[in-house]
Symmetry: C2
Subunit: 379 residues, 2 copies
């Protein structure tokens, strides 16, 4: 038996229904059939992204979508306030710098969130064209208080561009209610799809900025996408099979109910954190995200040896730490197609390998603690 | 029965083996497993693109790959000689202009190819950073004499960037032998995949140019792709399932033998042209490509009515004319997963609907003419 169990924060497990939908015979994208599908996808995207704004779909990764957001809304030489607390936030800083923006970094150590007060203070000292942040910073398993941060940004002229790549469909995000102008996400996380699609919602405030911008890139030209989208069409050839899988996965999410998905994800995260604590392991981050949990290794543990054994014996794929946290933590995703029993099984596997590799703890304590949390879902 | 028969020049039919390969459980891309797969893909891509140069794979459309080629090799203000004979060539001109290049257009009417002599003359009058063209211009079903054109360009400092989106895997292209610096293609044509991947091969001459260029885009930054590729890795999250399907389709192409694929495609094109002629219909283009055939409508025929009837009765999807040829021609792809019997069936369907819609011809003449050509494949 070779059942792959992905607990990596992207790609995540793709439901069989979605895989099979993508395996059906392909059809052409310049047809009424595709327009009808895409119209339905676009409505479902608005539901799942919790926005009345248009949501653009790009054939590309989350990086493509975030770059699209930035280059189409921030002028050359524009001022960007970048909240930076991990590897992905650093990538958005790189994009800003390559595009000759003046970047002010609000940088905190890995495992911490920038506070709303820090943002308010920075905003009071300068005028910005845009503020960027990772809602859930995947590399450091850390969540920002997006609602409180957005409340400060919306009072200014700056637009708020949010990396929701591991928050959309996993934890509560309400861009319209909170004042997020551009919410970016990707296909291979809580949307339960293979990688290959990026998404961004675009507010009225952002669309006004776009009108004033002239940027050279054609493939990532947001006006082209928005114009086509208004007719449920696409400017360039779309990734047809992935969009079809997307339709299926969005249906699955809305049928379960987005709030139920959020609750499930939060419960899996709580169970995992409880288990870690019961095993005497420290959860990484002073502001842990519910989409992905980081756990410190016991002293003397080797990352590759540990994750390698978990993979070899159980075919469970955990993620390594990134950047400065490489070798110091391992990461577990709670996003998408994963439930209580999968999570209990994963914790059982962790216990077995921790024991094998000489860590001393009360065998079964993690599973019992997780069980306590997870049973609440059913009771 | 609802069997879709795509004769559109992209997307083309995707083989069942490829669809099923993509439907297998997903795995993570930061693993040895993915590196091994990608290493094999990269070798096969070099075989199918007929090059010893690195071939970069991008999650995006052919437009993304062509833009990547241009922005990373041509400086701002650089001089570009653009051969223009259709809608896709015009898109490459748009990219050049958005990127502030000085563009000299060698423009000919739709349905004609720019001659090697015209290119030689233009090159003798100016120094260019790059020459761009569509090898097979999909919108006008017209092929350029790439070998002869490349022979002129390679004598200059200019790099030759070729849109091989509907030539690679369909008609002979030998970039290294001929002197093509960057050969761009896409997944949803002769490579028999869904849309979502773009490719570009990069010559030594092009790589030297890249080193001198500073361009802002991160997602399409060629140095990032080339550096990762040297380790069979990717800078951003790849479209894992499409890459897996690609491995299968490249295996199918190399097992059939690339030259055999070229021969099959050419035979299907000849059969279709013979059939059109036998039916008294005019083949569009003074230099017809073997990857896609354009056929003029009989006087008084309506494009939507004709293609609609073919689709409704036979589920055969033909393509409309594009740009100025809209309504005047229909287009038939010969690329990828299509064989002699499919083609004979398609011609039979054309005859039936031509007859229904009042065109007068010798019923069966098209099928007989095609059969004569196609039988040669088996004999």
């Amino acid at each position: 038996m070779n059942r792959i169990r992905l607990f990596t924060p992207g790609p995540t497990n793709v439901p069989e229904e979605v895989l099979l939908e993508m395996a059906r015979p392909i059809f052409h994208h310049r047809t009424q059939e595709y327009k009808t599908l895409f119209a339905s996808v676009n409505k479902l995207l608005q539901q799942v992204l919790q926005t009345a704004n248009p949501v653009v779909t790009i054939a590309g990764s989350g990086t493509a979508a975030f770059e699209c957001a930035m280059i189409n809304t921030i002028p050359q030489g524009g001022k960007v306030l970048s909240l930076s607390n991990g590897k992905f936030a650093e990538r958005w800083v790189t994009i800003a710098k390559r595009n000759k923006c003046q970047v002010t970094e609000l940088k905190v150590e890995y495992g911490h969130a920038v506070t709303p007060q820090q943002v308010a203070d920075a905003l009071s000292k300068g005028n910005y064209d845009a503020v960027t942040l990772c809602h859930s910073e995947t590399s450091t398993c850390t969540v920002h208080d997006l609602q409180a941060i957005a409340a400060h940004v919306r009072k200014t002229e700056a637009i708020l561009i949010v990396d929701g790549i591991t928050s959309v469909g996993a934890i509560p995000v309400r861009p319209d209610e909170w004042g997020v102008d551009i919410l970016v996400t990707g296909s291979q996380k809580a949307l339960m799809l293979p990688p290959g699609l990026g998404f961004l919602s675009v507010s009225e405030k952002a669309r006004k900025k776009i009108e004033t911008i002239s940027q050279p890139n054609l493939y990532l030209s947001l006006p082209h996408y928005l114009k086509s989208l208004s007719e449920n069409d696409v400017p360039w050839t779309p990734a047809v099979t992935l969009v079809r899988g997307l339709h299926k996965s969005l249906e699955m999410i809305t049928q379960e109910g987005l709030e139920n998905v959020w609750k499930r994800t939060a419960a899996l995260a709580r169970a995992t954190r409880s288990a870690a604590t019961a095993l005497g392991l420290k959860v990484f981050s002073s502001s842990p995200a519910d989409s992905v949990t980081g756990i410190h290794y016991p002293a003397g543990f080797d990352d590759k040896t540990f994750r390698g054994a978990v993979r070899k014996q159980f075919n469970i794929h955990l993620a390594a730490g990134q950047g400065t946290m490489q070798g110091r933590i391992f990461r577990i995703s709670h996003m998408g197609y994963v439930d209580a029993l999968d999570t209990l099984g994963m914790i059982s596997a962790l216990e077995v390998v921790l024991k094998q590799q000489g860590y001393s703890f009360n065998f079964g304590a993690g599973v019992a603690a997780a069980h306590q949390e997870l049973a609440k879902l059913a009771l």
